[in-house]
């Protein structure tokens, strides 16, 4: 059974189509990343999967439960880490976790042990009696991860888990998520717009304007951008340029001494190149494509250059729409 199955999902906010007929499935135990610029439909999709939003059309199964017909079964089998903090700042870390245990109807017997275990896992055991409002951003995030895992969910949803954290804390959180994966058998579904972070995923779907524009493993996606770039320098650039063209039939770019080649797989091409022209080459450097390049190619713009505003605008639109709907009721 797939952990998540989505068939032809559509979500409209009034006249705005936020998700436009996407389909995908996530295998159990996989880390699945939904990538896209702000406002592409990532958060809408994750909210539908978590039963916080009703789909306009389409079928969504999470852990085999229908998100529309069995929302409470879906909810008890998933854990959530939201984009924005959802802790009660006026309660202690321990109280926040205890609150969660009660909401998820965990047995009193295992509750205490499990809370302790999770606090150890995220390194907050010695701070458990402190009010959350005194915690740093990274500590709050860790506490939220601990909380999301308390009730042993089979799928953990992470919506932009490192948004707004400094790079060092981000690294820590990711290290932590990788560890978690090796320790517990858990499926993870995440959205992010940090390309480097998406590298931990087994499967990625790139979403833009409500549609999935590409999907596959990070390796597979990176191959879509025609492969690797090689930078060469040598004694006589002009003759080198000519001979590469003659021998390999490749277009050589770059100016003066710096010659730039694009090949499918640099690790296979370079031995052949050196065999022929090794004597003339003094410098070789390989640039592997990053997911950022993939994104640039697919979406036509850099993922991070989007202003944060576009999402806010969309949120406001969704909010205004809900308000209008309430008034009608």
């Amino acid at each position: 059974m797939a952990a998540i199955e989505v068939h032809s999902l559509i979500k409209n906010f009034g006249p705005l189509r936020a998700v436009d007929g996407i389909s995908f499935s996530v295998k159990e135990g996989e880390i699945f990343g939904l990538l896209g610029p702000n406002g592409a439909g990532k958060s809408t999709t994750i909210n539908i999967l978590c039963t916080l939003l009703q789909p306009t059309m389409g079928k969504v199964l999470v852990n085999g439960y229908d998100c529309v017909r069995e929302p409470e079964s879906v909810r008890s089998s998933i854990g959530l880490i939201f984009q924005d903090p959802t802790l009660d700042n006026e309660l202690t870390a321990w109280e926040n976790l205890k609150f969660h245990c009660y909401l998820y109807n965990m047995e009193r017997r295992v509750m205490k042990e499990r809370i302790g275990e999770m606090l150890d896992l995220v390194g907050l055991a010695d701070r458990s009696r402190e009010l959350v409002k005194h915690f740093s951003g990274g500590m709050k995030r860790r506490l939220e991860i601990a909380r999301g895992l308390l009730h042993r969910p089979r799928i953990l949803f992470l919506d932009e888990p490192t948004l707004g954290l400094d790079p060092q804390t981000r690294d820590k959180i990711w290290g932590f998520i990788r560890n978690l994966r090796s320790q517990e058998q858990i499926t993870m579904f995440m959205t992010t717009h940090y390309m480097e972070e998406a590298e931990v995923c087994d499967q990625i779907a790139v979403i833009d304007q409500g549609k999935i524009v590409a999907r596959g493993t990070p390796e597979h996606l990176k191959r879509m951008v025609k492969g690797d770039k090689i930078l060469l320098r040598g004694g006589d650039p002009d003759s080198l340029r000519r001979r590469i063209r003659a021998h390999f039939g490749l277009e050589v770019q770059g100016d003066h001494e710096d010659l730039l080649l694009e090949v499918e797989r640099a690790e296979e091409f370079i031995p052949r190149l050196l065999e022929r022209l090794g004597a003339e080459i003094s410098f070789v450097s390989v640039m592997k494509p990053s997911l950022n390049d993939v994104f640039l190619r697919l979406v036509g713009r850099e993922i991070r250059e989007e202003e944060a505003n576009s999402k806010d605008t969309k949120r406001q639109m969704a909010r205004a729409y809900h308000k209008a709907r309430w008034r009608r009721h």
């Binding site: 916080l52 009660d88 309660l91 009660y102 909401l103 109807n105």
Partner: protein, 259 residues
């Protein structure tokens, strides 16, 4: 559909926060003291005595109603804080029904309001109102009922409030009119017809009248004339109870729509 442990923990959370809030006890006392001993003393100088009771004694049921009104509306408006700070999502994605969430909020709001009302009952002897224990119990039971009614109203409002921006509007267009049109500081039957009509549509009027029925009955031995209760106690209870039912049902329906 109703998850007992979820209701328990939602209620517990509010009570923990109420106790932890700095100055919440002072806050409970501050407003009633101002009304009873400052406004009440002032007004009693210019108000002709309408019977065997003093103006301050007349005001006590109204001040109790006021304490309940403000505390109920404020405690249910905390839902809007929860929304603003994201905590509401933690509750909304939990595997519990929306009904349980509303019940939890209603119980915690009702408890905190009626406890505050109970606390200000210690002013009764200071005002020269002598009550039997049975009367106190009756008064408390009515306070619980009114707290529940107004908390339900507050939850209904909070479910429709996306941000704190409209809070002032609610204070000025709902809470203050409810208070001034309730017979808390002047008897409803002395008001001009139009305003009297509005007062009679106000659920708080009946809640406060119920308190008057217990503390200042109109007729019988020691009747209190124009400053006493206006409606039969049964009618008061019926109106407040019906109002509660309508409000809590609407609140549950609104909560089901929150996404």
């Amino acid at each position: 559909m109703i998850e007992g442990r979820a209701i328990y923990v939602i209620t517990l959370r509010e009570l923990i926060k109420l106790v932890r809030q700095k100055g919440s006890l002072i806050n409970t006392f501050a407003r009633p003291i101002l009304w009873l001993f400052v406004v009440g003393s002032g007004l009693s100088q210019i108000v002709q005595r309408g019977g065997p009771i003093s103006y301050k004694q007349f005001m006590f049921p109204g001040v109790m109603g006021m304490v309940i009104l403000f505390s109920s509306i404020f405690s249910s408006i905390s839902i809007v804080w929860d929304r603003e700070f994201g905590f509401l999502r933690e509750i909304l994605v939990a595997p519990i029904s929306r009904l349980s969430i509303v019940i939890g909020k209603a119980i915690s709001g009702t408890l905190s309001s009626s406890l505050q009302a109970a606390v200000i009952m210690i002013f009764l002897p200071l005002l020269g109102i002598h009550v039997r224990p049975a009367q106190l119990l009756g008064l408390f039971a009515l306070a619980v009922l009114l707290s529940f009614a107004l908390t339900s109203l507050g939850i209904l409002i909070a479910a429709h409030m996306e941000t704190f921006g409209v809070f002032n509007v609610i204070m000025n267009l709902l809470v203050m009119p409810l208070f001034f049109l309730s017979g808390a500081i002047y008897p409803v039957n002395l008001l001009p017809f139009g305003i009297r009509f509005l007062s009679r549509c106000n659920p708080l009027t009946y809640g406060i009248d119920a308190f008057k029925n217990v503390l200042l009955p109109k007729v019988g031995a020691g009747g209190h004339g124009a400053l006493g209760a206006e409606f039969p106690l049964g009618l008061d209870i019926l109106v407040v109870a019906l109002f509660s039912l309508v409000m809590i049902s609407l609140a549950v329906a609104s909560f089901r729509k929150i996404q």
